[in-house]
Symmetry: C2
Subunit: 201 residues, 2 copies
Amino acid sequence: MPSSQAATRRGRPGYDQQTVLNIAVDVFNRHGYEATSMGVLAENLGISKSAIYHHVPSKGDLLRLALDHALGGLEAVLTHADATDGKADQRLEYVLRGTIAVLTERLPFVTLLLRLRGNTEVEREALERRRAFDHQVAALVEAARSEGSVRKDIDPRTTTRLLFGTINSLVEWYKPGGPLTPEKLADDVIAMVFEGLHHHA
Amino acid sequence: MPSSQAATRRGRPGYDQQTVLNIAVDVFNRHGYEATSMGVLAENLGISKSAIYHHVPSKGDLLRLALDHALGGLEAVLTHADATDGKADQRLEYVLRGTIAVLTERLPFVTLLLRLRGNTEVEREALERRRAFDHQVAALVEAARSEGSVRKDIDPRTTTRLLFGTINSLVEWYKPGGPLTPEKLADDVIAMVFEGLHHHA
C-alpha cells in the first residue's frame, strides 16, 4: 500500500505517525469524518492550518490507515489456527473472543469503522473488507449449526446479526482501563450468547 | 405540553400531522437532526421553503413529538401489569419483548432516539426519559438476579448493557415487513439472551 508507506514516513517532528493517527481518529469520531476539515485536524494537532499539509498525509490517507488498523486486527483473528481448525463452535467462540479483544484494544478505530457511511472510495473499500469478515463469521455460525452445537430454531442470518449486534454495541459503552477487563468482558459476552442469562440450579 | 398541542392542530392541508412527522423523522435519520434545515424539510414535504413555517411546527417541535412517540411507547411497557406483577425474570422478559415490539413498530422513531447527541434542551429531556427507562430495566435485572433466576457471575450493570446493546442494535438491521416477524424476532432474542445459542442435546 504505497500511500500508507508514504504516510508512515511523514508526520510532525515530535509526533510519530501513530500519535497523529490516534488524534485524527478521535477527531473523526467526535465530529464525523465528513465534517472534519484539515483546519480542525490542524487545530487538534496543535499545528497551523497552513502547515498541516507538510505534517500529515491527506484526510483520506489518515482514514485509510485508521480503518486498516481496525480491519487488519479483525482479519488476523480469522487466520489464526484456532479460527481455522477444530470444532466449529470452538472456532466461533475463538473468533468472537478475538473480535472483542480487537474492539477493546483498538476501540476508537473500530468505532470509526462501525460508523462508516460509505461516501468515499476509502470508506467503500473498508466496508467491503468488513462485509468479507462478517461473511466468514456467518459461515462459522452455519458450520456450528450444521454440526449441531448451535440451536437450529433461530435462522443463522438472525443468529449472526444478533451476535454482531451484541458485540458491536460494546463500542457504545465499554470504557478501557475500568474495572471490567477485556478478558472478563469477553467471558461475559460468551456466557450470555452461548449459555444464556438464566440461572439453572 | 402546549407546543405539542399547537403542533397537532397545524400541518399542510392534505398532510395529517402523523404524515408530516413520519417524513420529518425519515429526513432526520438520513441527514442527522442538526444538519437538517427547514429548507430540506420543506423540500421533502413538497412545499416551498417560504411556506414551511405556515405548514409545520418548528424543527424542535417535530423532534419533541417524534421522541415522545418513541419514549411514550417504551414507558407504556413498564406500566403494564405484566411488567409490575410476578416473578422478576418473567417481568424482565415481558419488558424486553415489549421493548422489541415498540422498536419494530416505531422503528424510525426509536432509531432517532438512539442516535441523539443531547445538543438541545429537547434532546436532553428525551435522554433523561431514556435514562429513567434504562434504570427501571436495570432494577428488574437486579431483582431477577436477587431472586436467583438470572446468573450471578456477570455484574448486573454489564448484564443490562449487554441486553440493551443486543436489543438496540436491532435498529441497524431489522427490516419491517420482511420474512422475520416482530414476534419471531422477539422469540429469537429472548432465546439467545436467556437460554443461549448452544444446543444441548
